[in-house]
Assembly symmetry: C2
Homo-oligomer: 184 residues x 2
């Protein structure tokens, strides 16, 4: 099983606007034509930051249009948050805070051999990286720039560098880059 | 002839550190194994910002080690600057300021049918883009993050999006993305 940071980024390194919107992404690719259906099938537990989760809550209509459901995850989701938010029908949500190592152990247990998805934001991916728990990054780079926003990975990582395993051209709107992550 | 922004960027969208260093890039790929030799052969004139130029001046030793010469450009170079800097032996430098449209016309004339290279920084590439003069972006994305630095393209461009023409996996350290640029 792997712990994977799977996300889309603009060419200038932002995964969302300053207010956490990922609207910019939808015109660039059809999620059903992407690696997402295969990816999500192998996922047993999901981690997300509060910003990502709140965006999903606020944009249920857009998520419905894109994903076919306002809460498209069958898997249990760990929301890293100091607050508890309204429940979503059908969602298996754990509000957690604290050491990512302990929470990762809980997630591994729940995932039962499947992979763990760090859904975002970048700060959460960095927390897992810093704890030596991130195995892979799958970054879809859209053919746009945002100019500002939420950074894809707000940390310097020069050595060891990430290891690019593949670059998949997905049409003029996107390329998917897969990196192996070596811990410090 | 085309006007091309050819540069390397970190995965998080920075082409250089805050002090304009591109040292991070050298361990990731061998420039002679890259598209650079073929690219530079087709270039007739070069535009660069003051930050890029000053970095070259300050780091003649590193440039020598990487490129085989402290001033590796046979082509005339337009340095966009409000100041004049020390001359470099063997370099054909024009210090210019003002409207990029007029300067682009001068560069086209000097390039005599060859391409024009916007060597950086990102702010200069944006100036050419905003003037409707940028035809192509060739961005080599290194398998590292810088966390902060000089942005690859400091502007929002959502529509028309750039058009990804190819994604060339250049080993685990780098991927080269080629985009056609459509003007607003």
């Amino acid at each position: 099983m792997k712990t994977q940071y799977y996300t889309a980024s603009s060419l200038d390194g932002f995964i969302a606007t300053d207010d956490h919107s990922i609207d910019w992404l939808f015109p660039l690719a059809d999620i059903n034509q992407s690696s997402y259906p295969q990816f999500i099938e192998q996922i047993g537990a999901i981690a997300m930051g509060l910003g990502t989760y709140e965006w999903l809550l606020r944009n249920a209509d857009a998520v419905m249009a894109e994903m076919g459901s306002p809460w498209p995850y069958a898997q249990p989701v760990w929301v890293f948050s100091h607050r508890t938010l309204p429940a979503i029908a059908g969602a298996d949500i754990h509000y957690v805070q604290g050491d990512v190592r302990e929470l990762h152990a809980q997630m591994c247990s729940a995932a039962a051999g499947k992979n763990i998805w760090i859904a975002g934001g970048g700060e959460l991916a960095v927390q897992f990286y810093d704890a030596g728990l991130l195995d892979e990054m799958i970054i879809q780079i859209g053919s746009v720039t945002l100019g500002s926003g939420r950074p894809v990975f707000p940390r310097k990582v020069l050595s060891p560098a990430f290891k690019l395993r593949s670059a998949q051209h997905m049409g003029e709107g996107m390329v998917e880059l897969r990196y192996d992550v070596e811990s410090l």
